[in-house]
């Protein structure tokens, strides 16, 4: 399954790129001109999703191969048929990352309380993924002790620095190791947003800090209600078909 996922059919890829390209250009321009991701905001009424910037043109995740905190392969297709909340951080981070993980746990609890972790119509699960931007210090073993502490369903991911780069960059996730400290104690500046990945493995929305778990879970529900059908069109069978087309090499 994961092997197959790596070979993207060129035609399908071009098709996706043609749609995604304007979005990516806008996104990058937004970052370069320092106006942030809000410039690609799409939703006409800003009030529709107070905590989220929803992308009109969702950005497909690139092909990548990472390792989860149990040592298993985690690839692009691990996002298939799931709504995923994703955060990039590192375990030597005192303030922002623990806060983010606590907030994500708040979102998760809000959904779980209402029996809402699984989208009902198409039975789409929700997963939460923490990707390290510090693979040098964050091995899968480190992540295994760290990430589940906040919620034992959360998944920690690490891997080759180039792989993490190749996942982060197209999504507009920036990070930079600060140079002033010695080689042991360094800190990393990093994007603090939560990313929402749709069941077709595309970046669909961005939750910028400061994060309000209650508002995020409400908006997540609304986004899911609005877009799950787009990803699934006529139900389960169709969803399988769409994903199959997307990864035609399978």
């Amino acid at each position: 399954m994961t092997q197959k996922g790596k070979s993207l059919n060129t035609g399908a890829a071009m098709k996706i790129l043609r749609f995604a390209f304007p979005g990516m250009v806008l996104l990058l321009l937004g970052i370069w001109f320092g106006k942030g991701l809000n410039t690609v905001s799409v939703s006409k009424e800003a009030d529709e999703f107070p905590s989220a910037t929803v992308l009109e043109v969702p950005i497909p995740l690139p092909e990548f191969l990472l390792t989860d905190h149990s040592g298993q392969e985690f690839t692009t297709s691990s996002f298939n048929r799931k709504w995923t909340l994703m955060f990039f951080g590192y375990t030597h981070c005192p303030d922002v990352c623990p806060t983010a993980l606590v907030d994500l746990n708040g979102v998760y609890d809000n959904l779980a309380e209402k029996g809402d972790l699984i989208e009902k119509k198409f039975q789409i699960e929700t997963q939460v993924v923490f990707v390290t931007v510090d693979p040098q210090r964050d091995s899968d073993k480190e992540l295994k002790e760290y990430v589940p502490y906040f919620n034992n369903k959360f998944i920690g991911l690490t891997g080759m620095p180039e792989m993490i780069d190749s996942l982060a960059r197209p999504l507009g996730v920036g990070y930079r190791r600060e140079s002033s400290k010695n080689s042991e104690d360094y800190l990393i500046d990093h994007s603090a947003s939560f990313l929402l990945i749709d069941p077709l493995c595309r970046l669909r929305a961005i939750f910028s800090p400061p994060h309000n778990p209650k508002q995020i879970s409400d908006d997540f529900r609304k986004i899911r209600n609005k877009f799950t059908a787009d990803c699934c069109i006529t139900g389960k069978d169709k969803l399988e078909t769409v994903i199959f087309d997307y990864r035609k090499g399978e």
């Binding site: 375990t91 981070c93 005192p94 303030d95 606590v102 708040g106 990093h190 800090p209």
Partner: protein, 155 residues
């Protein structure tokens, strides 16, 4: 100096029950350390420090036997990027208070001898520019939404 310390210590001890630590000029409220995974290499402490004196004071250093090093930091968000800025000192103007809270000022606690568990108390010395040393005991608790988002904001 020793006298000041012992006075401060006694005041701090008597104030323990209400978790307010005070000299005649400086008081610390709502101090807490966010509980962290057993392999955490850094933790953070938050609190509100009030300067009741008529002079501007600065928190210049913090130490704790449990941690190899403690630094004063400030998280800054810029275009969605989080950056940690080490602070040489933390200025507290006369009659004002400064809150250390998630996403802002915090004490970065590095290299714990062992990661303290929820419910434990951690000893810390806060040093101010006038020589005052405030010994405080900081409880460890989870950074749940109810805890850190509502408690510390308006002091």
């Amino acid at each position: 100096m020793r006298k000041i310390i012992s006075v401060v210590y006694i005041v701090a001890l008597t104030a323990l029950c209400s978790s307010v630590f005070a000299s005649d000029s400086m008081t610390v409220h709502n101090a807490w350390i966010r509980s962290a995974p057993p392999n955490a290499k850094v933790l953070a402490a938050y609190m509100t420090i009030k300067n009741a004196s008529t002079e501007t004071r600065a928190l210049t250093a913090v130490s704790s036997a449990l941690f190899n090093k403690v630094e004063i930091h400030r998280t800054e968000m810029h275009e969605g990027m989080a950056k940690m800025i080490p602070q040489k000192e933390l200025i507290i103007h006369a009659g004002e208070s400064v809150s250390l809270e998630t996403g802002g000022y915090h004490l970065m606690l590095m290299d714990p001898a062992s990661v303290p568990k929820e419910g434990e108390q951690v000893d810390m010395d806060l040093r101010f520019d006038d020589g005052l040393i405030l010994n405080i005991k900081v409880p460890v608790r989870s950074g749940s939404v109810e805890g850190d988002k509502t408690d510390n904001h308006h002091h």
